[in-house]
Amino acid sequence: MYKNYLKIAWRSIKGDKLFTFIKVGGFAMGIAACLLIALFINDELSYDQQYKNKDRIYRVVLQGVMDGELRKSVHFQLPFADALQSDFPEIEKAGKINMSELFGAGKRGLRLAGESQNNFEDGFVFANQNILEILEISLEQGNTNEALLQPGNIVISKSKSDKYFPHGEALGKTIVLDNNTSKPYTITGVMPDFPKNSHLKFNFLLPIEDTNMSWTNQNYFTYVLVDENTDIPALEKKMFSIMENYVIPAQMARGRAPDFIEILKTIEYKLQPIGDIHLRSDLAMGDGLKHGDIRFVWLFGAIAGFVLLLACINFINLSTAKSANRAKEVGLRKTVGAFKSNLVAQFLTESVFFSIISFMLGLMLAWALLPAFNSIAAKSILFPWEVWWFVPLMVASALFIGILAGMYPAFYLSAFRPVSVLKGSLSVGSKSGKLRSGLVVFQFATSVILIIGTLIIYKQMDYIQHKELGYNKEQVVILDGANILGNKSESFKEQLLQLPQVQTVTISDYLPIDGAKRNGNTFKKTGEGIEDRGVPAQIWRVDYDYIKTLGIKVKEGRDFSREFASDSINSMIINDQMAHELGYDNPIGKHINNGMDWAIVGVVKDFHFKSLKEDIAPLSLVIANNDSGAISVKLKSGNIGESLASIEAIWNRNVPNQTFAYSFLDQKFSQMHEDVERMGKIFNSFAMFAILVACLGLFALSAFMVEQRKKEISIRLVLGAPFESIYKLLTLDFLKLILLAILIAIPIGWYMMNRWLEDFAYKINIGWEIFFVAGGIALIIAVVTISYQSIGAALTKPLKSLRTE
């Protein structure tokens, strides 16, 4: 019997290839999209889940309201972790990590003792021994219990060990950082590489050598391991004693204003579970790490749900739609003695058969698209074939949806009375008309929302790329690892300036991009008393050519100049925002103080030195000779490759033992917004999927409707209906639905994308034109899709469908 059912199923495929293609193909596409999103979400949720004690590991976060704004921070004082561990018995261990470039974290030049070739490496941090234990780092070589105890120790990752010591002989070897032979490091451990899905990823762990036990300097991320069954909210409350016992006294000793102390009293310490860090950290925490975003997980989950729902509905709908044409078959079968149960079994078999085929295709499609998806999402997700539940889950889903999809037509059709079917008095189309209309509206509303999202994300990305930044990011090459030049850097700069292609050169690690050096401090107006709370601001150490090289605009006063001897001592240039926060209308000549006295000689126009998600903060520039790791070279327009070759030649002459490494300022700027771009691309590709599925649905629905009305169309044609009238007849009905869908979608899309844009301090306005374009695109897609059917119908020869009567 089943063989017979399958035979019929097979024939119905062959009989109506287009319909089957849409039914199976659309469903498969939905399954593939859903699967890819599920894999993505699964990967996002897997961050930092690898720890045995993951429910007991927390990162400390500080939060408080300042000037009416919720401020957060993950940076704490050097003694903070030790105080936590000694003051609170429920805190088993507290560890600290310093990722600040000011201290020498980040990029360093590395070479093995006895060799001359320096290698430029990234991923250095300072961490204490407790970190190894809290993060459950168990060394592959070396003693985990003491690897970071002594100054001069270094723990390196397995991949770096493999790179420098291919025979596994790393332990005990000496390495030199940044040419500093007076302070070599001994490898005391080789740790496994951090997994891809860890919010922390380091290659080199150095012991903390900072000895400044001040309670007013915050440079350390603090992680704690608490006892089992600790009452976290209670512990968080108790932790306020740290503020009372250590921080506030220290700040008062420093002479901070009473209202600042009042603010400190409102501050709370929070413990953020390590598993939450990747998806639930907000920008305000300022941890400088690349994070996911739980809202995107929800958003993509919703898209996946929608796509799958659309695909399922289309599948069910097409199964029913087609079944109307098989009413005759049902009637005949019944008259020759089929029982209802036979027919139900037949339809179910058929639908399960199609569902399984769709799932297989969907799996294959997802599998084929995974590499492309990985490159868009910057992930390395593997297809979970070998996960034990994966294949059974797919089979179960295929059966479930197959049965669900078959259920409706099975019971609906098998309930037909044969007489009415055979007499042809059955009109299936109009009955379920409302349902189908609802479906079209739902599908297209979803599509239009996604199109609106796509357009707005695209516009915002474009806005970011073309935003007037307040500095000129074009034609600037950044040479990395330049601290190796040491005191030769000035002469290196002079040599570069001899090149005809070079316009200006500046030596400074402080650049308006992620990963560059930062240094925050608080400035008070000189002469004002203890009431002045001060303005927190960046203080950047630059040279005389910094402003010229980056094309920053001097608004008032002057640029630094060698003609003023004081410039190398106490002159300061501030940005507009800082002048504003200091409350100076005319800041030139004013003095401010951060423990050192500075005279303001110039004001520059605000420039963006953080991502456009953040407001421009107060910033000051001072002249300082620093052994900078970065040298920025502004090139004249011309052949970049040639210019780089000339620069490299000079580099090699000065630094024979370290390879030339460089990047471009504009690329670094783009990288700062990579996360936005990536989310945008993922969103867009899934939106495409959803729209495609919706189109297939519409295509099939219009095909179905034309099929339903074939007889009517023929009669109209015989009675003299011209082409246009038939075309209009079939198209207008759908267009009304599409317009309705657009109307529904606009407010939802507007609301959603406004929420998204809230993330950005600098953003586009959502104008009406976006909705026009989105609606227009949806309309065009719909008209093209429907026209294929209506034109076909309007051009048919009427005879075909009339003759059969």
């Binding site: 015989v718 009675l719 003299g720 011209p722 020869k797 009427p798 009339l802």
Partner: protein, 220 residues
């Protein structure tokens, strides 16, 4: 002369073989004739009617309609020709289920872009003439078979065609209803409309002025 068929052949290829549906049909029809086409089932009666109605093509021969050589005309031109001069009546009526009687009648006029007032008066006249004024707001499903066919004929006539092609117009009707339809045809014919009908009934055939017998696609 209304129309003339010369050596018309129509065939289909089936399994590499040529199967003739119409074989060497010669026929001329004068205006005002009432012709009955007869023959066993499958003998090609409907095919012949469709060829005459220009709903179907033929493979060989010549066909002129009102001195227009149909076989050389473009599809569109041909469609205009039949829309203007020919009315069709079907065995299964082919009324549009979603439209009322009045709207069904009005449809061909809409397609001919007849003005609204003229349309109204034509529909009113027709309803009156066929005695179905009382039924004008009913839907086809609310009518008996005979009444439906009446509406079908009324619709075929409303744009005053020269020729009515009726394929077994009484096939789905009982004998009394059939007789009424035949009487109607006779009357229309006497008013000058040319009629070609397909029928299985000897009795209905006698309403016509001439009988054409078909067998296996050939006129006998």
């Amino acid at each position: 002369m209304l129309l003339k068929l010369n050596n018309i052949f129509k065939w289909v290829n089936s399994g590499g073989q040529r199967v003739f549906l119409l074989k060497d049909i010669n026929l001329s029809v004068e205006e005002g004739e009432f012709i009955s086409v007869m023959g066993p089932s499958g003998s090609g009666k409907s095919t012949l009617l469709n060829v005459i109605g220009m709903l179907d093509n033929f493979d060989e021969g010549e066909y002129s309609f009102l001195d227009e050589p149909v076989h050389t005309l473009k599809e569109k031109h041909r469609a205009n020709l039949y829309k203007q001069y020919i009315g069709f009546v079907f065995q299964s009526y082919h009324l549009l289920d979603d439209l009322t009687v009045q709207e069904n009648l009005e449809m061909p006029l809409l397609y001919k872009k007849v003005g609204s007032s003229e349309r109204k008066s034509l529909v009113a006249d027709t309803l009156d003439r066929f005695n179905i004024v009382g039924k004008k707001d009913l839907f086809p499903a609310q009518l008996s078979g005979g009444q439906q066919q009446l509406v079908g004929i009324a619709r075929a006539l409303i744009s005053s065609p020269k020729l009515i092609l009726a394929d077994e117009p009484t096939g789905n009707l009982n004998s009394k209803q059939g007789e009424e339809i035949m009487e109607l045809f006779k009357q229309l014919n006497s008013e000058g409309v040319t009629i070609i009908q397909v029928t299985h009934s000897e009795k209905n055939a006698t309403y016509g002025s001439r009988i054409i017998n078909l067998l296996d696609g050939r006129k006998i």
